[in-house]
């Protein structure tokens, strides 16, 4: 019986070591492709965003009757963060970054596009879904990619679409509900979109020096260079001045 304890102890010891090795191995592999993390700040107070009256579409108005939604031209997040800023790399890429295979989703819910701004790799798939009881039309006013305009009745299968050329800030709108707007940013290489606290991160960045560009639908673009050294994630921060 005692031998049994020994066996268990030994086995567990081996397991611990094994897990330890595995873990260290993962951290090593992580070190080889770093990430750029950072945050976007809004300097000043965001302009007044008008509330949206959806009374035209009762089913959607019902969804928001507690807190009316507003326009999303400038969405200021917690502690001065600026939401919906797309950060991507404009210089320094090797050109053979892998296209993310994970499809991005845009949901039409309560007569809003969720999310309001999406970024994708050129060629990455986007799933456009309609969770409303009304039919929307999706008008993609792209210029470097073929523009299209198509209705999606309630309960229709999601649309699976891709954009093959880089294009920044493709306006997407629904004519049936003129207040519905979204933007698609098509880039090559890593990208990040700032969340409600203004923070973002770009994954799988090889060490090197890059020019980062931050794009916002209202405030336009900013660029800065950042160097990603092996071993530690680079931190950057953008600041947009409220106009």
């Amino acid at each position: 019986m005692k031998a049994g304890y020994k066996v268990v102890a030994l086995a567990s010891a081996i397991l611990v070591v094994a897990f330890g090795l595995l873990y260290s191995g993962r951290s090593v592999s992580a070190a080889s492709t770093l990430q750029i993390a950072g945050s976007v700040k809004l300097d000043g107070t965001a302009p007044h965003q008008k509330p949206i009256d959806m009374s035209k579409e009762p089913s959607c108005a019902a969804v928001h009757k507690d807190k009316p939604v507003t326009t999303e031209g400038v969405v200021a997040g917690a502690n001065g963060g600026l939401e919906n800023v797309v950060v991507y790399i404009t210089q320094g890429l090797t050109g053979n970054e892998p296209v993310s295979t994970q499809p991005v989703e845009i949901n039409q819910k309560g007569c809003q596009y969720l999310p309001h701004v999406v970024a994708v790799d050129a060629g990455q798939h986007i799933k456009i879904m309609n969770s409303d009881q009304t039919s929307h039309n999706i008008y993609v006013q792209s210029t470097k990619n073929p523009a299209w305009n198509k209705s999606q009745p309630p309960g229709a299968a999601p649309l699976d679409v891709t954009w093959n050329n880089e294009e920044i800030g493709i306006p997407v709108k629904c004519n049936v509900h003129p207040w519905m707007h979204a933007y698609v940013v098509v880039v090559k290489g890593p990208y990040g979109v700032s969340d409600d606290s203004g923070s973002f991160k770009l994954d799988n960045v090889a060490p090197g020096t890059y020019t980062l560009t931050a794009w916002h639908e209202t405030y336009g673009t900013q660029t800065q260079t950042v160097t990603v050294a092996a071993g530690k994630p680079a931190a950057v921060s953008f600041t947009f001045k409220a106009k």
């Binding site: 008008k50 959806m54 326009t71 004519n175 207040w179 707007h181």
Partner: protein, 268 residues
Amino acid sequence: MPGKVFAVVVAIITLVIAYCVIAHVWWMPVDVSVHGPKIDHQIEETLFGAGILFIAGQLVLASFAFLYGDSKGARKMKAFPGGAKSLIVFACVVVGVEILVLSFVGSKAWASVYFTPPDPDSLRVDVQAGQFAFYFRYPGPDGKFGPLHPELINETTQNYFGLDPEHDADAKDDIVTAGLAIPVNKPVLLTLHSKDMGHSFDVRELRIQQDFVPGIVIPIHFTANQTGKFEIVCTQLCGLGHYNMKAYLEVMSQADYDNWLKQQAAMQ
């Protein structure tokens, strides 16, 4: 034989239709406008006059088909004694009278809607139609509408009219809403703009239907005499969202209206 069957079928069809109309199986909705009753009366009068002609015509046709089947020579054929002259006279007189009555009374109804000038102190509301929604603009406290700048129209910032509050004093207090609210028993003057296509302003309960024509401003005026919530729909084909281009008309008491306008002003 087929003649008799035809006669019976036509008679049945005629009676069923007559029943549907008389029994109001399908009928007009409640009428909430001051001028509406004139139009309703006109429709009913036409239903009556034309209905008589309809029933008479169908029954004449049916009875002739019933009576004059092929007798294989048993019955000598005879020409219609009245001859063509009587038919022509009948047509000219009966239809002519009908026409005179209808256009006389009808033009009165039409004139009452379109030829009476709007009440000078009527409530003015500006309507902007676009693919695929209506937006309404109230002049605000100053009672003046700011000028429109089409190049400024921007749906992302909800600037559906193309107002420029920074530079136009009159535009500062304009109130833009997604629904039309009006006080009951108050004359209303709408000015219809369209920013893109031809649209139409149709409220069944008001008995008003008027197209928007891009490039020109079309005034229409009416007075609603009952409170309630009614649908404004577009009846002029304007694109893929035509079927869902609508807004709501709310006729309220003056007090409710004032509150509503305050809320809307706060939401600007």
